[in-house]
């Protein structure tokens, strides 16, 4: 030892004990905050309501032995496989592109200058993320549970699957540490493109095969071979997920035997272990590299917490051309113009939504061949119900600016209308482009109904957006909390808020449909006009008027909520 070097501090370790203490203290802090939060009636109500709903779901599913409808039926394996393939591919893409070993700003501030080894930092990341993923396993087991598999087994199987995903993304992430942004993007495209190419090639190969149709029972002559069906082709696409499909189905009707299951579990554990060891043996400088990725991800987390869930940051510092200003309309036009200017630059939300709608449409097209109306319906359904959650250019994205906006000289109801209008217009344009063609291809007797649907859709979009915004103002729904990934308590609260939104929406739709149906009944049955076109149109117009009225009331309520809520107090976290 150099004479000038000081002797190692007797208490110096690799920091593992301190990290364990930190994890325990954080956990304790969260529990303390949870208990303290229960003193507030709103939180207590939401927690109890969420628990009651989840308990109800567990009871309903446990008492019926039926699988989740989401993956049920004879194509269970295909749906389950597609579900299980989704997360590793997305995780790999994200890990390569932006890194997923995230350290919060306070962790960087306190831990990075401290004597904590790289291995300890990585081990903490693996363990805490695997434990956090158990809450996701719980929800997967609740909604994506195969036939006759017990709830406990499903949680265990999904837990192992998610531990694998955590280790996989960490291994991929450290493999890319130190790369610049351009290389990361290139590699992400290459890897994910390669995976999809391999899967696509397998499916294409399968498509070229034919199925032996057997022999004619009367003549004994061999029948002509038939092409493999669309759903059978999709079985080829989910082959990489087979070990996990077998694990989750192990206690179900179609699962493998005990010996095969034991071998399968052993293999999966070995795979997880190998990935974990790869991560823990990393000798590079995780601090230096994760500074950049953590800063990027921390910014994204901050954006997500502010409600800007699916909006991408502007890619360039220069905004480009400016939209022509709208008529003022007591201030509503100005706010709609501002939101549309923002929406023009937030293309990611459209891209994801359009991709989802197209993917569902294509999948439905494969299953229900020669049925364009079904394809258009499913795409419109996706856009109508998922759209208001994705196109968030309203109060949800302006949460940090609410205080400033309340000092504007615009009446709250008018401001709310302006805030919601641009998202509703953009959503409607997407619906028209992706589903409008159904009017021309549907049977002639359905045409009038489809025209009615497209007349009502803009109002329906506004209604949905107003309900979602009202819920968000009262209780912000955020996929991430201040302490990182959402805990079970937050998930329960989010779950309850979503149920509340759905209940409000169904009530509003029910009122409109009720008025329409009442008009139809009065004209058709009471007045005895019969099922003529005029009766249907009158019923539709009355229904539309009711929908417009309900929507206007909802928008006014959003304005009142906007005025009443206190931006100083945010109970979401």
């Amino acid at each position: 030892m150099n004479a000038e070097q000081t002797a190692p501090h007797p208490a110096r370790t690799d920091g593992a004990a301190a990290m364990r203490l930190l994890v325990m203290l954080r956990l304790k802090g969260r529990m303390r905050a949870l208990v303290r939060g229960m003193r507030q009636p709103k939180r207590l109500f939401m927690m109890l309501g969420g628990l009651a709903l989840v308990a109800f779901w567990v009871w309903v599913q446990g008492s019926s032995d039926h699988s989740s409808r989401f993956i049920g039926g004879k194509y269970q394996e295909v749906f389950l496989g597609a579900f299980l393939m989704f997360f590793p591919i997305v995780s790999m893409w994200a890990a390569i592109r932006q890194g997923l070993i995230v350290y919060s700003p306070e962790e960087i501030h306190f831990l990075f200058p401290a004597p904590v080894s790289t291995r300890t930092l990585l081990a903490t990341h693996l363990v805490t993320n695997s434990v956090k993923s158990l809450s996701a396993a719980f929800f997967f087991a609740l909604f994506v549970r195969p036939d006759n598999v017990s709830f406990g087994w499903a949680v265990l199987a999904y837990g192992l699957y998610l531990a694998f995903v955590v280790c996989l993304q960490a291994a991929v992430d450290i493999g890319c540490i130190g790369m610049d942004t351009a290389t990361r993007r290139r590699r992400a495209r290459m890897v994910v493109g390669g995976i999809l190419l391999v899967i696509g090639s397998g499916v294409a190969l399968a498509a070229s095969l034919t199925q032996d149709a057997g022999v004619d029972p009367t003549t004994g002559a061999p029948l002509a071979a038939v092409p493999v069906s669309g759903m059978d082709l999709m079985r080829w696409a989910v082959i990489p997920a087979q070990p996990f499909i077998a694990l989750i189905q192990a206690r179900g009707l179609t699962g493998p035997g005990p010996m095969a299951t034991a071998l399968n579990i052993g293999g999966i554990l070995a795979l997880i272990g190998a990935l974990a060891i790869t991560v823990l043996r990393f000798r590079g400088d995780v601090r230096e590299s994760s500074h950049a990725t953590s800063a990027t991800v921390a910014e994204k987390m901050r954006s997500i917490r502010a409600g800007k869930m699916f909006q991408d940051a502007p890619k360039e510092s220069v905004g480009g051309s400016t939209l022509p200003m709208f008529p003022r309309l007591a201030g509503a036009g100005v706010h709609a113009w501002r939101q549309l200017s923002v929406l023009r630059r937030a293309r990611k939300s459209y891209a994801i939504l359009i991709f989802m709608a197209l993917a569902m449409g294509v999948a439905f097209g494969i299953i229900k061949q020669n049925n364009p109306v079904a394809v258009a319906s499913i795409m419109l359904g996706v856009l109508s119900f998922a759209g208001p959650m994705y196109v968030q250019c309203d109060f949800r994205s302006d949460y940090e600016s609410l205080a400033w906006m309340r000092s504007f000289p615009t009446p709250p109801g008018v401001l709310a209308a302006g805030q919601l209008l641009s998202s509703a217009i953009v959503l409607y344009l997407m619906q028209v482009v992706l589903g409008g063609w159904v009017i021309f291809v549907c049977p002639s007797e359905q045409r009038l109904a489809w025209v009615g649907v497209f007349v009502m859709l803009p109002v329906f979009n506004l209604l949905q957006l107003s309900v979602w915004n009202g819920a968000h103002l009262i209780h912000p729904i955020r996929p991430a909390s201040a302490a990182g990934a959402p805990g079970i308590a937050q998930m329960l609260r989010v779950y309850l808020v979503m149920m509340g939104v759905m209940a409000t929406l169904f009530t509003a739709i029910g009122i409109s449909v009720g008025f329409g149906a009442l008009t139809w009944w009065l004209l058709d049955r009471v007045a005895g006009l019969g099922p003529v076109t005029g009766v249907w149109i009158s019923a539709g117009l009355i229904g539309l008027s009711a929908l417009c009225t309900v929507t206007a009331i909802c928008i006014w309520c959003v304005g009142r909520v906007f005025v009443r809520i206190d931006p100083n107090i945010d109970l979401a976290d």
């Binding site: 502007p314 360039e316 905004g319 003022r328 200017s341 630059r345 600016s401 205080a403 615009t410």
Partner: protein, 243 residues
């Protein structure tokens, strides 16, 4: 002008602002000082119509905030402590939006003058997300000045500005006051607002502790900092006379 009478606001059991009375005349710059958590921001937010008061009344340019809120808001501008801009709008779009919102008649000439005054002309088409903290602060201030409000509420407006930016900001505020605006400004930078303000209100635990011109309040106690410390920290050696 600003008139405040018996203003009170509580968050649960915590009284943030407790029966505050205040009047700011046109052309006057009043400094609002106090320790962190004294109630300055809550007071300013109530004046800006962001928070609703539990008790008391607010008048902005003669319009009561409770019964004529829209007209009161049209006459004021509020700059929050953290510039909350719309991230994906450019500087120009922010200004255009504000102009349209407040019905500014000669937008182009005011825009150019403001951008020039705050050295933002070359960042006119930059999105807010690409601006530094100081630049964002300047944009927020430009948005506030655009419609030439008769009441200016500035919450820590000097945070994030470099020394030159602070000087320009102070000059700009003084200019608006000379033009007849009533200005209420909160800041921790005592030496700067000591030069800028004609009157001070020291607020502590939600209540007004001391109010008057600099000459009045420092008669016996020295600099504004000495006054501030003695009023907000009564256990300190420097004892203050009661207001």
């Amino acid at each position: 002008m600003i008139t405040v009478s018996g203003l009170t606001k509580a968050f649960g059991s915590t009284v943030a602002v407790n029966h505050v009375d205040l009047a700011v005349q046109p052309g006057e710059i009043v400094g609002l000082v106090g320790v962190n958590g004294a109630g300055k921001t809550t007071l300013l937010r109530m004046l800006a119509g962001i928070l609703q008061s539990d008790e008391g009344s607010i008048g902005i340019a003669g319009h009561p905030m409770t019964s004529d809120g829209m007209e009161a808001r049209a006459n004021l501008a509020f700059v929050p402590d953290t510039p909350m801009l719309f991230e994906q709008l450019t500087v120009y779009e922010h200004m255009l939006f504000m102009a349209r919102l407040y019905g500014v008649p000669d937008f182009d000439s005011r825009l150019d003058a403001l951008l020039e005054e705050f050295e933002l002309a070359d960042r006119k088409h930059a999105t807010a997300s690409s601006l530094s903290r100081g630049m964002r602060q300047k944009v927020a201030i430009c948005c506030a000045f655009l419609h030439e409000p008769s009441v200016l509420l500035l919450d820590e407006p000097l945070t994030g500005l470099d020394p030159l930016g602070r000087k320009r900001m102070c000059d700009a505020v003084a200019k608006r006051a000379q033009q007849g605006s009533a200005v209420l400004i909160s800041s921790h930078q005592l030496e700067i607002i000591e030069r800028l303000c004609s009157r001070f209100v020291i607020i502590h635990q939600g209540s007004t502790r001391l109010e008057g011109s600099l000459a009045e309040i420092r008669a016996d106690l020295g600099t504004l900092e000495d006054v501030f410390l003695s009023v907000t920290n009564p256990d300190d050696d420097r004892e203050a006379s009661p207001a």
